[in-house]
């Protein structure tokens, strides 16, 4: 495949045409924060955490393909500020009470807050009243912790092929739903495979019977599975 030359944080690198900026950065060991991206799933550019600067313009690195001569900056004061404010908005949108959350200490959102040095939330909290669906025999979906990254939607459709999850509603009314809005326990298409649990970056989709801080997840399993399938 054709190789393309770009400059990333001042360093000249070449990568196959069609690669995203995020992929190139990863290869080069340059960390870029992400939430909705997961290796092995398609990209939708929803969380906006992975923003980078391309010639003065802010773009999401997971959805932007490299182009010849591109100048990419992955970190700057402005980028850090934008990412932090973005993260604050995510925290303020739903009800994240980490100390009581089963995902405490194993949560990608919480990790990002530490990594980016988010000390406090300056924007007003929304404190929405949200539901929790425990109708599935093994799993729970708690809307209070959902960040609408859409990973569950994609893993279930793209890897498991079950198409259980969807997103309904507009704006701040948007919610993940199972099978057009019925209880998860009644969703006949669900194979109980648990992939959505593993890829959900927060404490939104979790296994039943976990106490606070007990829910560990392994999204990389899905990546490996996807890779293995592609190589077969």
């Amino acid at each position: 495949m054709k190789e393309i030359l770009i400059r990333i944080d001042g360093k000249e690198v070449s990568a196959p045409a069609g690669s995203t900026i995020l992929e190139v950065a990863k290869q080069q060991g340059i960390p870029i924060p992400t939430l909705c991206h997961l290796d092995g799933l398609s990209d939708i550019g929803a969380c906006r955490m992975c923003i980078v600067d391309v010639g003065g313009k802010i773009v999401t690195s997971c959805t932007t393909k490299i182009a010849e001569g591109m100048e990419v900056i992955t970190n700057s004061d402005r980028l850090a500020e934008l990412r932090r404010l973005n993260l604050e908005l995510i925290f303020a949108e739903r009800n994240h009470v980490c100390s009581m959350c089963v995902s405490n200490n194993h949560c990608e959102l919480q990790d990002l807050a530490c990594d980016l040095g988010m000390q406090h939330v300056e924007v007003p909290y929304a404190y929405p009243r949200l539901s929790l669906d425990a109708s599935h025999p093994k799993f729970i979906i708690d809307q209070n912790r959902c960040i609408l990254c859409g990973r569950c939607v994609r893993v279930c459709a793209e890897v498991e092929g079950a198409h259980v999850w969807g997103i309904a509603g507009r704006g701040s009314e948007a919610r993940v739903i199972t099978e057009l809005g019925i209880d998860w326990g009644d969703a006949e298409m669900c194979t109980d495979c648990g992939k959505c649990v593993q890829v959900c970056p927060t404490g939104a989709i979790v296994e039943k019977g976990k106490a606070a801080a007990e829910m560990e997840k392994h999204p990389e399993l899905v990546t490996t599975l996807k890779e293995r399938r592609e190589n077969d």
């Binding site: 939708i44 923003i51 934008l82 404010l85 908005l89 007003p124 929304a126 704006g171 948007a174």
Partner: protein, 611 residues
């Protein structure tokens, strides 16, 4: 006997809802009864512009322009005007400036300063009759393109004309056509964006209702130029009249061989289908619109690839706005130089605006680019009614900005408006006077956009509602000065990082009012004062002891019984706690004894609380 008069009765949506059909029937009856049906013809047209004055009608050739016509007026019009040649003065548009009766339409300032290109036929021909369109040079441009011009020549003339997209962003139309022409794909599509989601906008609707063939002809020319075989007109379902007229027009064009297989016997085939949208604002965004036509959830998609390369059903797709389409045939027919002779160097041509708010003449207007805001608002619009003072003009719909008085002499073109933090947008223009609170205006637009956010990306989905929370805090008297910085930061961040154009522009009303009307924000925060007396949490109603005659009318009318007093023993008193600030007392008091206060005497506790 030969035809003597054409009576053009507006049947645009506004006039239809003010019962133009009854007027038409009454006129036609009178004309018949007086044996004039061979001499006088009634033509139903699209919107003529001054919708507030409807039903309106125009008599050709003498140019008399009648407003607020009622069915009862028909007899008098026919007797006096049509038979005796004396126009009915009481129904003619009175020029508010000169206080004189205006007889000829051309002398009415509202029309005199307009330049009609796109709207040329609107209000002049019967949109349901293709013959009338053809009589007005209709489909001549298509014939010229198909028989005398190579595909690239058509694209060249559009490029040379400098036409820019009228749907908001102002992207060079010729360049877009070139992209689609060069893209490869089995099928190519041409799409007309008639979503028109801005609240209060009706530019595109009026053109589709008043002259549907112009849009169809423009699309067909483009299809030939870029090599497309199918077209879609995406239009909101709330526009039934436009949909009906489009369907009629499409049928007529097909029947005459101007659409469908082997157009004008040239071997070129192209057909158009109408698709109805559910009316979500974001569905006007081109990738969301494509998703919606494909039957998917109407949310924006990642660009690139741009629709020109991979659009509808994965094929190269040319999307233009209704008004952009309306310009095409005129450019093909009259040439690029003619088009460039109108408007400015970088923004050639005209622009249609829906003028609304606090101006005397509201309605649909078309002006050459480069006209100043002042000319549009004061000459065409007739200025601010009721002796009030101009405060701001909002352009660009919910994603636009508010421009203050000191910039009224700015020419209307893409760059100049953008420089001021506003945008051209698709043609909304709302005039505001001293009774409008700018913080409240910002809140109003943000309420709209945060409701319309598709919810896909974080900054727009959750950032806009947080900005709204802060604005609500300010208008209820609970804001702090730090809130202003926070609004600024959030606004800039949402613009920079949102996924699609909705989020990238939605903070504009807040940022532009913060820039030009920061003093109003400060007053709300520091003095708990709303100078326009709009924000109900910051105002109080008081009865002036000296003016009150103790008639008790206010007390009787107050819906919550907040006013007490004794008949004949002034003054009556309003209980501030119980008062819901509905303003009824102010309206009903025959002695003008009720006043609205903000800042000065009221909100004492709120001001102290903030210290």
């Amino acid at each position: 006997m030969t035809r003597r008069l054409d009576v053009l009765v507006c049947s645009g949506a506004a006039c239809v809802s003010s019962h133009s059909a009854a007027v038409r029937d009454a006129l036609s009856r009178e004309i018949d009864e007086n044996g004039l049906s061979n001499e006088i013809r009634i033509v139903e047209t699209g919107c003529m512009g001054p919708c507030e004055l409807g039903p309106v009608m125009l008599v050709y050739p003498d140019g008399a322009f009648y407003i607020h016509v009622k069915p009862e007026d028909a007899a008098e019009i026919v007797q006096e005007h049509f038979l005796k040649g004396r126009p009915v003065k009481r129904l003619l548009w009175e020029d508010p400036e000169a206080r004189r009766i205006v007889e000829g339409k051309k002398q009415i300032p509202f029309f005199a300063k307009q330049v009609k290109v796109v709207l040329r036929n609107c209000g002049r021909i019967d949109p349901e009759n293709i013959e009338e369109y053809i009589a007005a040079d209709g489909y001549e441009a298509l014939g010229k393109a198909l028989t005398q011009m190579a595909r690239n020549e058509v694209i060249q003339v559009i490029t040379d004309s400098g036409l820019r997209g009228r749907g908001g962003a102002g992207f060079p139309t010729g360049k877009k056509w070139q992209f689609v022409a060069s893209a490869t794909g089995e099928t190519k599509y041409v799409v007309c964006n008639g979503d028109e989601g801005d609240p209060g906008a009706f530019m595109d609707r009026s053109l589709l209702e008043g002259d549907p063939h112009t849009v169809i002809e423009g699309m067909t020319i483009a299809a030939y130029a870029v090599g497309a075989s199918r077209g879609y007109i995406y239009i909101r379902a709330e526009y039934p009249l436009a949909i009906k007229r489009l369907q009629i027009a499409l049928g007529q064009a097909r029947k005459m061989g101007l659409l469908g297989e082997n157009i004008l016997e040239t071997g070129f085939s192209f057909d158009i289908e109408v698709r109805m949208g559910a009316g979500a604002f974001v569905c006007g965004e081109e990738t969301a619109l494509i998703a919606s036509i494909e039957g998917e959830r109407g949310i924006a998609r990642v660009r690139p690839p741009y629709p020109a390369v991979r659009g509808l059903f994965g094929m190269p797709t040319l999307i233009n706005n209704v008004e952009t389409w309306g310009n095409i045939r005129h450019i093909v027919l009259n040439g690029a130089d003619w088009f460039r002779s109108i408007g400015t160097e970088r923004s050639p041509g005209t622009k249609v605006f829906a003028l609304s708010g606090k101006v005397k003449n509201t309605g649909l207007v078309e002006i050459p680019m480069g006209m100043t805001l002042r000319e549009l608002i004061f000459d065409i619009g007739g200025g601010i009614p009721n002796g009030k003072k101009f405060k701001a003009v909002q352009t660009g719909g919910p994603s636009g900005g508010c421009i203050p008085e000191k910039y009224l002499d700015t020419p209307i073109d893409y760059e100049s408006l953008k420089e001021l933090g506003a945008i051209m947008g698709s043609g909304g223009m709302i005039v505001m006077d001293e009774d409008n609170c700018m913080v409240n205006i910002a809140k109003f637009f943000l309420e709209f956009t945060s409701d319309e956010s598709c919810g896909q990306c974080v900054p727009c989905r959750t950032g806009l509602p947080r900005m709204l929370d802060i604005l609500k805090r300010i208008t209820s008297g609970n804001g702090t000065m730090d809130d202003l910085d926070l609004l600024q930061h959030l606004g800039e961040m949402i613009i920079e990082t949102s996924f699609c154009g909705l989020g990238k522009t939605a903070p504009n009303p807040v940022l532009s009012t913060l820039k030009y009307f920061e003093d109003e924000y400060r007053e709300h925060i520091e003095e708990k004062k709303c100078r326009a007396k709009v924000c109900t949490d910051l105002i109080a109603y008081r009865i002036d002891e000296d003016a009150c005659r103790a008639c008790g009318i206010c007390a009787v009318n107050c819906p919550v019984g907040a006013i007490t007093g004794e008949l004949g023993k002034p003054p009556y008193i309003i209980d501030e706690e119980a008062c819901i600030r509905c303003g009824t007392c102010l309206e009903v008091c025959p002695f003008g004894a009720v006043h609205v206060l903000s800042g000065e005497l009221c909100n004492q506790d709120k001001r102290e609380g903030s210290k």
